[in-house]
Each structure stands twice: as C-alpha cells, then as structure tokens.
C-alpha cells in the first residue's frame, strides 16, 4: 500500500514520504501544523486513496482513553435485571466497543484518525501507549485480550495546545505540515476549483499572500480560508478587475470577512490600508 496524494488532496513530497513510512512500518503518524492546513483531511484522503474504511475518533477535553477502547454500560444492565430481561446474564451485551476496538477487530486494515489529541487531559496520550505500540488491550470485565487482527493505519492530529509526553512521541512518526508556498497553493486551489479563471486566481493569490504578510495579525488566513474566500468570489461573480487596482495596497479586498476572522485584524488591516492611502495621496 502506497499513498501518493489524491485527486482532491495535494500532498508534498515530504508528506507522502512520512505517510508511506508510517504505513510500511505500521506506526502511528502524528501530524501537526497551522490550523487549516489539512491535518484532518489527510486521514480522510489516505483512506479514500487506499480504499479502506475510515474510523474517526474526535477528542474533547472530557474524553478518556478508556472510551476509545470500550465502555461498560452498567446502568442498562441494572435496568434489564429489574425487568427480568435474559440478556442480563451475559456481560458481553453491555460492553460498548470504542473506536480502537472497532479498528483492531475489523476484517481488513482500516485508517484510524485520532483527531486533536492535544484537547484531551494531559495523561490521555500516556494511557494509550501500550494500545498504540502493541495494538492490544485487556478487557477486565470479560477477561479477554483484544489484539489487532490487522494493525490499523493511525493518524493523530495535534494543534499544539498541550505538549505531548516523550514516551508517546517516541512511538510515532512525526510530520509538521508547513504553510504551502505559492506553487503548492496554486495546485491546491486547482484541485478544488478546476474551472477557476487563471486571471482571477492570480489576483486572488496575490491579495491572499499580501494579507498574510500584514505584520501583527492575530490569526493569519490559512488554506481553508483561501478556499472559502474563492468560493465566495465565484458565487458573487466578482471579476478579476475588482481585485486589481493601480496600487493594490489601496483597496480592501472584497468579502475580506472570509479571510480575516478577528475584528481587531480587520481594524488593523483597514488602518494599514488607510495609512498607505494617506501616504500615497
């Protein structure tokens, strides 16, 4: 199994290499990067390209590692015992399988996405060490050992909100998705909007990278914001000329709300535009 990008996802050389190394050696791949650079999409696209099922486990601040393995539903067992249901004699009926269990016991290899692992409690990654390393865990209630029939391809994404423990990191491959350069960005846009006019794309890219270079922005616009913005430009049918002017710095790009998500950033940007205008005029 080898991954080499897909029709809908542009993967750079270093990214494909990291993915392939993780697939070949059956180790989890930890993916970090600026928000909106396609960390979560990576797992989705790899699953699609390799034509295997995808299991997604989204992590929240309240998620416990145990929930990914299994949960024992004691409350419904208690209710069933009071109603005299015969199911009550078999504890297996009350074990709810988690994402990891499902991934381990699937008939064919699957792609497992553990999304935003840094949102969880600080001990969360430590609780998954053995499970991710040996791909097995023990169910105390039924006294059975669940072992992976096929080692799943595991993707873990992180937004860097918490530091991950060294022991966890040692077991993973790591890739940091850089913000794409202009060329890669053009390819990405081409994949999403194949019918986009060249002139509009060129103007839009210039504006986009200019906005990104404004110093002091709280949140720089990212790939996903550029794609949203282009969608809006297309929907509103804005001609390329509207993005162009004699001195591009003197106009505020139309629909800039899609690029700047913070009112302070918008103010800053407007002020800068005003200043250049005052200087020029």
């Amino acid at each position: 199994m080898r991954f080499s990008g897909s029709a809908e996802y542009v993967a750079t050389d270093d990214l494909t290499l990291a993915v392939n190394a993780a697939i070949t050696l059956q180790r989890p791949l930890l993916v970090k990067g600026e928000p909106g650079t396609g960390k979560t999409m990576l797992a989705v696209q790899v699953a699609k390209a390799l034509d295997v099922p995808l299991l997604e486990w989204h992590i929240k601040s309240t998620t416990k590692a145990q929930q990914g393995l299994y949960e024992y539903d004691a409350v419904s067992r208690l209710r069933d015992s009071q109603l005299g249901d015969s199911r009550v004699h078999d504890i297996h009926n009350y074990i709810v399988k988690g994402m990891l269990w499902q991934a381990f016991t699937a008939d064919s290899p699957v792609v497992l996405l553990i999304d935003e692992v840094d949102k969880a409690d600080i001990e969360f990654p430590n609780d998954l060490l053995r499970e991710l390393d040996r791909m097995e865990f023990y169910v105390y209630e039924t006294r059975e050992l669940v072992r992976a029939r096929h080692r799943p391809i595991v993707f873990i994404t992180s937004n860097n909100e918490k530091e991950l423990p060294d022991a966890f990191l040692r077991r993973c491959f790591f890739h940091y998705i850089r913000f794409p350069d202009k060329e890669t960005m053009e390819r990405i846009v081409g994949v999403h909007y194949p019918s986009l006019k060249k002139s509009l794309l060129r103007e839009a890219m210039e504006v986009f990278f200019e906005v990104r270079e404004v110093p002091g922005l709280k949140k720089k616009p990212s790939t996903s914001e550029l794609l949203d913005w282009l969608k809006l430009l297309l929907a509103e049918d804005i001609p390329p000329d509207a993005l162009r002017s004699k001195d591009r710095k003197t106009i505020i790009p139309p629909l800039h709300g899609a690029l700047l998500k913070n009112e302070q950033d918008v103010h800053l940007f407007e002020r800068l535009v005003f200043m250049t205008r005052a200087k020029g005029g």
Binding site: D14, R27, K32, Y176
Partner: protein, 390 residues
C-alpha cells in the same frame, strides 16, 4: 556511518532516542525511500524529530553532517554585487541604515566585502571574519553583527541547487527565537496560580458532607471562588536604546495584562532611579517615587523588569550617572532595594543572549539580579516564569 549521524544529532542537543534510531534503520531496511538524499532527510526527520521547534536544530545538524559526505561546489566565485545591494536594502531599517552611515557608509562596507570575497576560498561557518553562517562577522547569514550584511543561503551558493535543510524554513519555530504575543501568553500562563480569597459564595460539597456527618445535622459550608491571585509588578525600560525593543515590550505587556488579577506597570529609563512613571507622555509631570512603589506594593508581588540593560556602566554604578537628571543614589542601589524587598524578581532582556557577555552593563545588572536575567525567547520566558512561580 549512521551512528555518526545519530551522535551528531545528539551533540546538537536534539532529544533523539535509540528506539527512534532503530526505527529509522528499520524504515531504511524496508525500502520506504529510494537512494536520494532528500528522501533520507525527510525520512530521518519524520522518524527522529518529534517537535517542529527542533526542526531548525535538525536542519543545522543535518547540514553539518552532510558536508562531510557530499562534495560542495566551492563558493570562490563572486556573488553578484547588485543582488547583494538589493538584498541589504530589503533587510535594513532606516535606523540601521543611519548606523551604517556612521560606520563609514555603504561604499566602505561594500568595498570591504569585495576584498573579503576575494580572500576567501571556501564555505565557512562560525568565526568572526569570514563570510559564512552563524558568526559575528559583518558578512554572512544568521549572525548578530548589527552592521552586518546578510548573504542569503539560497542564492549565495551558485551552481548548487537549494538544499532543503539549508533553506532553514523552520527557524521561526525554534523555541530559542523571540516570541509573538500568543507564545508569550502560553508562557505566562505558567505563572498563573489560583487561590481562594474573598467572599464565600461557592457551595463546598466535600466540606458540607464531612461536617454534616460529624455534627449529625445539615451543616452547609461555602467557600470563596477560585481566583487568579498572582500579583505582578512590571517595570519597563522605555526610550533610548530600548526603542528597538519597544514593540516587543508592548507585546509582552499586552499579553500579560489578561493573565493576572493584579498587574501594575511602571516605566523607567535605562536604569531604575528615584522615580518611575505610568504614562510615558507625561513622564516629567506625573512621576512616582520609587520609595513609594516599594511601600505601596507588598512583598508578595512578583517583579518583572523588561529592559535591554544596555548603557554605560556609569549609569548603573555612579550617583549622578543618569542621562536625564542628577540622581543622588546610583541605579545599582535602587535595583538592590527592589531585589531586597521582592524575593521573586526577574529581568527579561530582549537582546539576544549571545551578546550579553560583551556588554559590561548587562553583566553588572545580571549580577545585581542574582543571575536572574533571561532572554525574551519562549525558552527564556519559561525559565523566568519557573523562577517566579517557585
């Protein structure tokens, strides 16, 4: 051969483990990559480095290691001067340009560069004279000489293609470079300590149960809400040599304001003397006596100085040394008083740590602070916060 590579990474203080090294070997054995250096670079990075903050260190180590293996086309050929000029103009601020004028102007600098280029035969790293990387010579890249000319890695090495690791694209992620506002916030959060003080208005379940069981009747307990009880007094250097760093200081201030319950800030100029002020525009009319400061804010305040500590040593050590007025007591006396009153205090210095050793005034103040001077990098700030939070 790869053992050497592993040891090279170790010597660059990269946290690599044997397990990761074995993984790398396993990956090479299983044929994940073809026989290409770029592939090897990507694979070893993905297997060995687990934090983008270390990517830059890794790039440097890799580049150093690889030089022994790959033959490098020499750089004795001339670098187009027009290009250099353009590049220099891009890099320098107005102020720096003025400084260069003071040093003898463009022509002289460019002439020296030309001469130096002719003398030099080969790539160079470190040191203080040759054109290269990481040194203090005015010529080259990534150095610290203020009047330096940056010769970029990407085009300077003519004939050889751009090497990924030499592009050093991850410089900004290295945690020993200076910070943005968000990074500062993350580091300052370490200092946050919650304490319960004030009116009891929160239901205390544990205590209620315990006390009810003990007294055998319902005994409700309340407790005050948890609040951020850290108190910080910030003293910031303003004007003069600090103008370069004023933006950084402002960022530091705006980031810290949201992090603490009590945050007081005052400005001083170069060194702390009899007076401090709150509003820089009215610095001469509305001043606060430093004695008042020491009496007003209790000793449980934590003091953070922000300043480049770059001045003439007389301004610290001599009475009357201040550049603004005649101070009866030396700056050193005042700094000593502050450190005596406040057990927890640190000095954050926006100047790069490498040059501290060369400035006498920095050394003096560092000593006065009991070595508690830290650079305003993420790593430095974390160290400082650890000291304050202890």
């Amino acid at each position: 051969m790869l053992i050497d590579f592993f040891l090279k990474l170790k010597s660059h203080r990269l946290p690599v483990s044997i397990k990761e090294y074995l993984t790398l070997l396993e990956a090479m054995g299983s044929g994940v990559i073809g026989p290409s250096v770029d592939d090897f670079y990507y694979l070893s990075r993905t297997a060995l480095v687990k934090d983008e903050a270390n990517f830059d260190k890794f790039d440097r180590a890799f580049s150093e290691f690889w030089q022994g293996v790959e033959t490098i086309p020499g750089i004795e050929a001339s670098i187009p001067l027009e290009w250099l000029l353009k590049q220099v103009e891009l890099q320098l601020t107005e102020e720096e340009k003025k400084q260069i004028q003071a040093l003898g102007g463009w022509e002289k600098l460019m002439e020296t560069l030309k001469a130096r280029l002719e003398e030099q035969k080969g790539r160079h790293q470190g040191g203080s004279k040759w054109i290269g990387t990481g040194g203090t010579s005015p010529f080259g890249a990534y150095g610290y000489n203020p009047e330096g000319i940056r010769i970029g890695q990407d085009k300077g090495r003519n004939r050889s293609a751009v090497k990924v690791w030499d592009a050093r694209a991850y410089r900004n992620l290295d945690d020993s470079v200076e910070l943005g506002t968000r990074n500062i916030k993350v580091a300052l959060r370490r200092l946050r300590k919650f304490a319960r003080e004030g009116a009891p208005d929160e239901f205390d379940l544990d205590n209620t149960i315990q006390s009810t069981a003990k007294k055998a009747y319902l005994d409700i307990h309340m407790r005050p809400e948890r609040r951020n009880a850290i108190k910080v007094l910030m003293l910031m250097d303003i004007g003069g040599t600090m103008d370069d760093h004023i933006k950084l200081a402002a960022e530091l201030f705006s980031a810290s304001k949201t992090e603490f319950k009590h945050l007081e800030f005052y400005y001083f100029h170069n060194c702390l003397y009899d007076f401090v002020w709150k509003d820089n525009r009215r610095r001469h009319s509305e001043r606060t006596r430093t004695w008042e400061l020491l009496h007003k804010y209790g000793h449980d305040y934590k003091v953070i100085f922000v300043g480049d500590a770059t001045m003439s040593p007389y301004e610290i050590l001599q009475p009357g040394g201040s550049v603004e007025y005649f101070n009866e007591e030396a700056g050193a006396v005042w700094v000593k008083r502050v450190t005596d009153v406040y057990a927890k205090c640190v000095w954050l210095n926006p100047e790069p740590e490498e040059i501290w050793g060369y400035r006498q005034s920095i050394q003096i103040l560092k000593e006065l602070m009991g070595n508690r001077m830290y650079p305003t990098t993420l790593a430095g700030l974390e160290q400082a916060m650890r000291v304050l939070a202890k």
